[in-house]
C-alpha cells in the first residue's frame, strides 16, 4: 500500500503530492477524558478513564454471560490484508437482524464464511456454529467496505473476543467499539506474517503485549487510544450513560 508521504509515480500517474508528517493512526472515538454539559444546564460531567475490568457490551442478551476480562487466551486465526466486510459476513446473510438473540447466534455461525477457498482451514468448522479461535490476527485495513454492524457482531457471536490487526477500516473499528462485541487491537509489527492459524496466544491488555506460546515470541500492541473510555464503559450506550449524556437506567 502507498502512504501519502511516499507516493510512487507510475506511468499512469497524473498528480503531484505534498509531503505529510508521519502520524499515528487516528482513532475515531474518544479522548481519555471528555467534558460536557448536559442539556438541562447541570454542571459539566467529567469522565476519567477507568482502569477497572472491562465489561462486555450486551447488544444481545447472550453476551451478558461472557466473562469480563483484560486478558485473552486461546487459539488464533490468521488472515491477510484488506479483509472486507463481505468476507467477514457476506451480504446474503444480512437479512439476519443482530438485535434478535436467535438471529444473533445464527449470524455468528456464518462469520468469515466469505473468505476465499485459499483459506483451507476454516474459521468455523463444518457443522459447528462457534469458532475455536478466540483471537483473529490480521494485516492492514481489516473490516474495510460496508458499514454493516453485522460484521463485528458475527465475529463476537461466533465466540471471538479480540482482533489484532495492523490497522482497521474506520467504520468497522467504530462498530466494534460501539457494540463492545470484539476488542479491535493494533499491533506494532506485522503479526499476520509472524503467527500461524492454530498458534496459542495470550493478549495481556495491561501490558499491551501479545505472547505467541507456540513460537515463544512476544509482540507489542499499540495503545488503545481514544477509544479507552468507551471500551471501559462497555460500548457507546454505557459510555453515554456513565457521562450523563443519556439518562441512566434504574
Amino acid at each position: 500500500m502507498v502512504t501519502a508521504s511516499s507516493i510512487s509515480f507510475g506511468a499512469n500517474s497524473t498528480f503531484t503530492s505534498s509531503p505529510i508528517p508521519k502520524t499515528k493512526p487516528l482513532f475515531n472515538i474518544i479522548p481519555h477524558s471528555l467534558k460536557f454539559t448536559t442539556g438541562n444546564g447541570r454542571a459539566a460531567v467529567t469522565f476519567q478513564r477507568a482502569v477497572s475490568v472491562i465489561p462486555k457490551a450486551t447488544s444481545a442478551d447472550s453476551r451478558a454471560t461472557k466473562e469480563p476480562s483484560r486478558t485473552f487466551h486461546g487459539l488464533c486465526y490468521v488472515v491477510g490484508d484488506n479483509i472486507d466486510t463481505d468476507q467477514i459476513i457476506p451480504a446474503e446473510y444480512l437479512t439476519l437482524v443482530p438485535s434478535n438473540p436467535d438471529e444473533y447466534e445464527k449470524l455468528g455461525s456464518y462469520a468469515l464464511i466469505g473468505l476465499p477457498a485459499t483459506y483451507t482451514t476454516r474459521f468455523i468448522d463444518e457443522n459447528e456454529t462457534k469458532t475455536k479461535y478466540k483471537i483473529i490476527i490480521a494485516g492492514g485495513n481489516f473490516g474495510c467496505g460496508s458499514s454493516r454492524e453485522h460484521a463485528p457482531v458475527a465475529l463476537g457471536a461466533a465466540g471471538c473476543s479480540a482482533v489484532v490487526a495492523e490497522s482497521y477500516a474506520r467504520i468497522f473499528f467504530r462498530n466494534s467499539v460501539a457494540t463492545g462485541e470484539i476488542y479491535p487491537l493494533e499491533s506494532e509489527a506485522r503479526l499476520c506474517e509472524e503467527c500461524s492459524t492454530g498458534d496459542v496466544v495470550t493478549i495481556e491488555m495491561a501490558e499491551r503485549r501479545l505472547i505467541n506460546h507456540t513460537t515463544g515470541k512476544e509482540y507489542k500492541l499499540k495503545p488503545i487510544g481514544d477509544l479507552g473510555p468507551v471500551i471501559d464503559a462497555g460500548g457507546i450506550f454505557a459510555y453515554a450513560r456513565k457521562t450523563g449524556m443519556i439518562a441512566s437506567r434504574n
Binding site: I29, T95, G235
Partner: protein
C-alpha cells in the same frame, strides 16, 4: 426559501479562494508554517490522541485572528456548537438527517428499543428518512419481513419520510417507493449544504456532493441517534484533491475516483475527509459529483465533500424548501495533504479484481474476456449513467455480445430511462437504445446485485463469472460468487465492454 440565506455569489468567492491558494501555498510546509504562526496550539499531528483534550467551549475568534478551518471542520463546528475545533477533537454532533434501510433499520430499531425502552419515541420524526432498497424483489422471507419491520416502526413512530413498497410484483404500483437510498436522498431533497447526514450504509458519503458532512454508521450508533439526535464524532483532518483541466469526453467521474483510489490505496484516506476542488470538479454535474463522493469510502475516507456552488443550488431549487447555509474551506485552512491531478491527460480506467485500488487502464485489459456487464447501484445507476451507456450503444450501432443487466437506482431514474430523449438519437429514449442493442430490459429499481444479496436477486453472480460493473466494490464474493471477478468501470467503459465481450476502452466507440 433557501435563497434568503445563501450568500449572493458563493461560487465566485470559492473560486477566488482556490486561485489564491493555487498561487501561493501548495507546499504543505508553507501551509503548516502559516498555521503555526497563527495558532500554535493547533497541531495537525494526531499523535496526541492519548493526551487529555481541551473540550470546553472557547469564545469565537473573529476578523484577522479568525481560526481558519476546512469545509468539514466548519460543519463540525456548527453542528457541535463549538466556535473552533481541530482535527482529532471528539465532539457531540447534532444530526440533521438520519437515514436507514431494510438491511440495517431493523437492527437499529432493536437497539433503540432495547436501550431507550419499548415505548420510547424517536428524537425527531421529521429528521429520519427510511428507505427500503437493498433486498426488495426477492422471495426471501426474512428479507420481506425486514421491510415489514420498517413499516411497523414508521407507523408507530409516525415517521414523515418512509418510502414504502408493498406490491413487490410491480414497483410502479408503489408511488412512495423510491429505490437506492443515496440517490433517493438527493432526489427527494434530503441533502443540503452545511448539514450533517448519517446513514447506516457506508455509501452515505455520496451526499458529500452537496457540500455537507455525510458518513456511514453502524446499527448501535444509529440506535443512539434515533433516541438522541446526537453522535460522538472525531473531527477528521482533510486531504484536498485538486482536479484541474478539461475532462475529455470519454471520461466520467468514475474514472476520476478510480484514479484517486488507485493513487492513495484502499486505506489512503482512512479516518480522513476528502475535499474535491478544481476546475474539473466545478464543471461536474451533481450526479457526477455524487459518483466522486460515493467511492471515498473505498479509499477508507470518512467523508468526501464538494463545495456547494451554482450547480448545487440549481439542483436544489425544486427539491427543498428548507433554508440551508453552505460553508467553504477558509483560504488559510490547513490540509493534511494536497494532491493535484491534470484530468486532461487521464485515460479510461478500471479497478481489477479484487480491490478497488487495483487500477489499470481499460485498454491494458483488452484481452480480458468477460461474461456479463452490470450497470446500476448508487455509484453507476443514475440517470446520467444510463445516458452515458446509451451514448456508447448509439455511437456503435452494434449489439452487445454478453448479457447486459441494467438496474436503475430509483423509480425516478427508471422513468428517465423510459422517457428522456438521448441527445443526438433523434428522440430515442435510453430504453429504446438498450433494446436495440440487445440489453436485458431495465429491472425494478433497487441495490440489486451490486452486493450480491439473496440468491434470487436479479443479475446476482451465482457462477464464477467475469463481470464489468459500474458499481463500487470488487472484493471476493461482492456480487454473489466468491470466485467471481469484478472489473469496476465507468458506464462508458461498461457499455463499450458489453459491445465487444472484452474489457474495452470506450474511445473505440466514442472517437
Amino acid at each position: 426559501m433557501a435563497s434568503s440565506v445563501i450568500s449572493p455569489a458563493p461560487t465566485s468567492s470559492f473560486i477566488n479562494n482556490k486561485k489564491d491558494l493555487g498561487s501561493f501555498c501548495f507546499s504543505w510546509t508553507s501551509q503548516f508554517s502559516v498555521n503555526k504562526c497563527k495558532k500554535s496550539a493547533v497541531s495537525k499531528k494526531i499523535v496526541s490522541v492519548m493526551a487529555p483534550q481541551q473540550s470546553e467551549r472557547r469564545p469565537a475568534t473573529t476578523g484577522s485572528v479568525k481560526n481558519a478551518m476546512t469545509l468539514t471542520e466548519k460543519i463540525f463546528s456548527r453542528a457541535s456548537e463549538k466556535p473552533q475545533l481541530s482535527p482529532g477533537d471528539n465532539v457531540w454532533v447534532n444530526v440533521d438527517i438520519l437515514m436507514t434501510h431494510d438491511v440495517c433499520g431493523p437492527g437499529s430499531f432493536g437497539i433503540f428499543k432495547k436501550e431507550f425502552g419499548e415505548n420510547a419515541k424517536v428524537w425527531d420524526r421529521e429528521k429520519i428518512v427510511i428507505i427500503p432498497d437493498h433486498y426488495i424483489f426477492t422471495s426471501d422471507e426474512r428479507a420481506n419481513r425486514n421491510v415489514d419491520i420498517l413499516r411497523d416502526f414508521c407507523m408507530e413512530q409516525n415517521i414523515k419520510y418512509f418510502y414504502d413498497i408493498k406490491d413487490l410484483g410491480n414497483f410502479k404500483a408503489n408511488p412512495d417507493y423510491k429505490g437506492v437510498c443515496h440517490i433517493a436522498l438527493a432526489q427527494e431533497g434530503h441533502c443540503r449544504p452545511g448539514e450533517v447526514l448519517l446513514g447506516t450504509d457506508s455509501h452515505t458519503c455520496t451526499a458529500g456532493a452537496f457540500g455537507q458532512f455525510a458518513t456511514g454508521i453502524g446499527n448501535t450508533d444509529a440506535g443512539f441517534v434515533l433516541g438522541t439526535g446526537k453522535v460522538l464524532l472525531k473531527v477528521p483532518p482533510t486531504l484536498r484533491f485538486v482536479l484541474d483541466g478539461e475532462m475529455p469526453d470519454y471520461l466520467l467521474a468514475k474514472d476520476l475516483i478510480l484514479q484517486i483510489i488507485g493513487e492513495i490505496s484502499v486505506a489512503g484516506a482512512t479516518y480522513k475527509s476528502m475535499e474535491f476542488v478544481g476546475t474539473t470538479v466545478e464543471r461536474l454535474s451533481m450526479e457526477e459529483r455524487m459518483t466522486l463522493c460515493n467511492m471515498v469510502v473505498e479509499a477508507g475516507g470518512k467523508n468526501g465533500v464538494v463545495p456547494a456552488d451554482g450547480t448545487t443550488f440549481k439542483y436544489l431549487e425544486d427539491k427543498t424548501s428548507l433554508p440551508y447555509e453552505p460553508v467553504y474551506s477558509d483560504e488559510k485552512a490547513s490540509f493534511l495533504s494536497e494532491y493535484r491531478f491534470d484530468i486532461s491527460k487521464l485515460e479510461p480506467l478500471v479497478a481489477k479484481p479484487h480491490s478497488p485500488d487495483n487500477r489499470a487502464l481499460a485498454r491494458e485489459c483488452k484481452d480480458v474476456k468477460i461474461d456479463r456487464v452490470y450497470i446500476g447501484s448508487c455509484t453507476g445507476g443514475k440517470t446520467e449513467d444510463f445516458l452515458a451507456a446509451a451514448k456508447v450503444f448509439l455511437a456503435s450501432g452494434k449489439k452487445v455480445k454478453v448479457p447486459t443487466f441494467l438496474v436503475p437506482a430509483t423509480q425516478k431514474v427508471w422513468m428517465d430511462v423510459y422517457t428522456l430523449p438521448v441527445p443526438g438519437s433523434g428522440g430515442k429514449t435510453c430504453s429504446q437504445i438498450f433494446e436495440e442493442a440487445g440489453c436485458d430490459t431495465p429491472a425494478s429499481p433497487s441495490c440489486g446485485a451490486c452486493l450480491g444479496g439473496p440468491k434470487d436477486t436479479y443479475a446476482r453472480m451465482n457462477e464464477p463469472m467475469v463481470c464489468v460493473s459500474t458499481t463500487n466494490r470488487n472484493f471476493p464474493g461482492r456480487m454473489g460468487h466468491k470466485e467471481g471477478q469484478i472489473y469496476l468501470a465507468s458506464p462508458y467503459t461498461a457499455a463499450a465492454s458489453a459491445l465487444t465481450g472484452y474489457v474495452t476502452d470506450p474511445r473505440e466507440f466514442l472517437e
